[in-house]
Symmetry: C2
Subunit: 447 residues, 2 copies
């Protein structure tokens, strides 16, 4: 298949020292990276200066002594992204916030405010919170999986409604006549639903991109349905080109079923390339990362996906034990995948755990090889871009921008300068019209 | 009374164009000031460069077409203050957030995160939300006044508990041994109360100032009790030196009754000085501000404090009508004061309304006069500092820093450079010790 080259949009995870559980021990990182604003600013500027479209902040609402070290102590997304807004100029700023443990009026305001003060660069990664313990920090039972997605659906309806409280030209601010706003362009939502009653309006205007970009990160069927209905972008796993392409098609079909078009939702698998000048070099970098976690760490890490199940009680060289429903209400898509891989490939517990904690990335090798692979995935329609989540952030990012991006640029698959101004510009999405505007997209089919 | 001069700490309101309802029309301001980040950065830097200790963001959770123009469209406090954190170096960053419409786990995180990323400069203005309509944006009934304060009390207990989740030296981050944290310095809260059940711990460490500064802004007896128990600082009205001193004494007595000392809580009346090179000059500036609002505006403005009561139905030249309980569940201390003043001074509705919308400040005149008055209040113990809320922000601030602060500095009542690094430093408050620390202050008496 021959395809005309076009730039691949990249995002970058902003999660302290990197995605590896013990990334804080990696010599390229400062050990306190997850709470070091200067470090985040450096990373965001490196990304921005090299044409990376957005930073992406993950989040969680529950920790215990077994949590991943840099999750124990990290900045909260809204405050971190707002701080980065004044330290950067063009890069998009996306962050995670849970619909299971927050109020739509507050969340609508915070993202609208970030969006406006950053000049239209905000994105919201809508999650439903996988961890049971979150409920104990909010004094209410953790809703089960299906209910979490029902809540999320109504929640998004409310938030997007609130974001259109003011028409784009509502604020007249005419000093001579004393007219601050046009009353007919001021919209009360009056939402009355199953989970939420929200009158509105919101006390903030729309931004240069209309509304913040909606990211969605659940990969279950419920997650895909939610994405098809509302998401501008989806953050997902990247097990293989074929599986990722299948997932991408599912989400795009879901969008079409909701009266949208395939291009309205962009799919971003998360990948953690390891690049070396030679193959041996790349392999050595991977081994240095894998050495950060031993078997004990690996078993604890695996347990995290299964409701902190204690895997140290089993023989590590026997097959992965039967786990029944453990963890089914948390990271369902991840636990299903782990169990399936173990079954199909006949893996021992040790193999499953080590692979979970220090996965060999599917983008590893020389700069040419990694660039080829990225182009192959992109041209094959497996994704619309990638989110870079390096195991060891500082080393991974520096290698990627110095070794891979120039190759992509030479081949027409990258631009080292961000040309647009808003996050929607960077993602190739049009400005979001207000639902009250005459040139708004046709209303979505109910779903 | 002769007193040794010492610097008066000042804060500055960050509320867009200023405190006057129609400040957006004032020629010194940009009309979109409430949503113009560049404008906020300029104001914050002017303040910081002139030794003003902190910026202070007010907030509200309900608007309708009768709201004050710059309340209709404004940044949300956490995002605004976080954005200002990277644009400034030393100035404190305080913002309002309501305990009636939020979750303590989230609020604890957001302020802790702002505090940490700003290097220990955060303050939280704890309010209970005066406006009934707030409940309609959150799908629950607006709690009545006493209940709001009972919720706030338990809320603060939880938040301050969460802020001590990690001892100051909990994070070891020793790469050689692989030890990220010391487990015995990791504290679960396990709060089970009347309104909140919160397990904890919080996923963020303590900041250079230990905990964010607690501001409190309710002046009713319930508000004073809450301040005495928890507040580091109180934001209040400044009707006259004597009344303000009486209020200050009440709050300090309340602190003492809670086992704290008078110096533990700093009182900051809000004032809006108008300064001119001559008295006529100052008067002309005041008249220019008063001219921004006519009688219709004034009646609508007055109505805001009384649950949007329609005052245009009355003869403006008759006395203020009997209002019974209208507004008693909202701005109680303000409405009580308005009714009392009207009664005592025999004011007409017109007079009450015009005075409400364009109050003649009690600090108006030449630089020498305003400096004298500030020193007189301060030396008389009426307050521990002042929050500057200029009717027209840009003009008011520029006049104050160029005309008044140099006089105060010459007399030993100001320093044009902030010497400390944290907000507690700027306010003369010690670092807040963890409740688990052996050198923590003795536990508060229950109250
Ligand atoms: C790639 C990816 C990233 C995710 N990031 C987060 C996150 O940062 N915070 C969070 O609470 N959940 C996150 N989730 C969890 C999901 O949002 C969701 O709550 C959970 O996976 C259960 O939904 P699912 O079964 O639809 O995947 C992520 C999931 C995926 C697949
Ligand atoms: C000087 C001052 C400033 C206040 N600022 C705010 C504010 O920014 N946002 C808010 O919701 N309430 C604010 N309030 C309202 C109070 O927090 C409180 O909700 C209301 O006044 C009722 O309490 P009270 O009767 O104790 O004064 C303020 C009150 C005072 C006295």
């Amino acid at each position: 298949m021959s395809t005309t080259p076009r730039p691949i949009p990249f995002g970058i995870m902003l999660q302290g020292p990197g995605s590896h559980m013990h990334a804080w021990k990696h010599p390229s990182n400062v050990p306190d990276a997850s709470v070091n604003l200067g470090y985040y600013i450096d990373i965001a500027r490196t990304a921005e200066d090299n044409g990376i479209a957005f930073g992406f902040v993950a989040d969680g609402l529950y920790i215990n002594e077994k949590s991943i070290p840099h999750f124990l102590n990290r900045f909260e997304p809204i405050s971190l992204l707002s701080a980065l807004a004044t330290a950067t100029k063009k890069i998009g700023l996306a962050g995670t916030l849970s619909t299971s443990y927050s109020d739509p009026f507050t969340v609508a305001r915070q993202f609208a405010s970030l969006d406006l003060l950053s000049g239209g660069r905000a994105g919201w990664n809508v999650v439903t919170s996988p961890l049971e313990g979150s409920g104990r920090n909010y004094g209410r039972p953790h809703p089960e999986h299906a209910l979490r997605y029902q809540i999320a659906d109504e929640y998004l309806e409310v938030v997007q409604g609130l974001w259109d409280s003011w028409d784009d030209d509502a604020f007249v601010r005419d000093r001579d006549s004393g007219t601050f706003f046009a009353p007919e362009k001021f919209r009360r939502l009056d939402h009355k639903g199953r989970f939420f009653q929200v009158e509105g309006p919101l006390n903030i205007q729309r931004s240069p991109q209309g509304q913040p970009v909606i990211f969605q990160a659940g990969s279950s069927d419920d997650g895909i349905a939610l994405a098809g209905k509302y998401a501008d972008a989806v953050f997902t796993h990247a097990p293989s080109l074929e599986e990722t392409r299948t997932f991408t098609q599912k989400v795009k079909n879901s969008a079409i079923a909701h009266g949208r078009s395939a291009g309205d939702v962009k799919i971003f698998p998360g990948i953690g390339p390891i690049v070396g000048r030679t193959e041996e070099d790349a392999e050595a970098k991977y081994q240095a990362i894998a050495a950060l976690a031993g078997l004990d760490d690996a078993l604890a890490y695996l347990g995290r996906f299964f409701d902190h199940h204690d895997f140290s009680q089993y023989d590590p060289d026997a097959p992965l034990p039967e786990l029944g429903d453990i963890g089914a209400n948390s990271f369902r898509s991840t636990t299903d995948r782990i169990k399936q891989d173990a079954r199909e490939q006949g893996l021992s517990l040790r193999q499953v755990a080590l692979q979970a904690v220090s996965p060999r990335p599917n983008f590893i090798g020389t700069p040419e090889h990694v660039a080829d692979e990225l182009i192959r995935w992109f041209d094959a329609g497996a994704s619309d871009g990638f989110i870079l989540g390096f195991a060891a952030q500082r080393e991974g990012l520096d290698d990627f921008v110095t070794l891979v991006l120039p190759l992509l640029e030479a081949r027409g698959y990258h631009r080292s300068a961000l040309e647009g101004q808003t996050l929607r510009d960077h993602l190739g999405l049009p400005r979001k019209a207000s639902r009250y505007s005459t040139d708004a997209e046709p209303a979505r089919k109910a779903g």
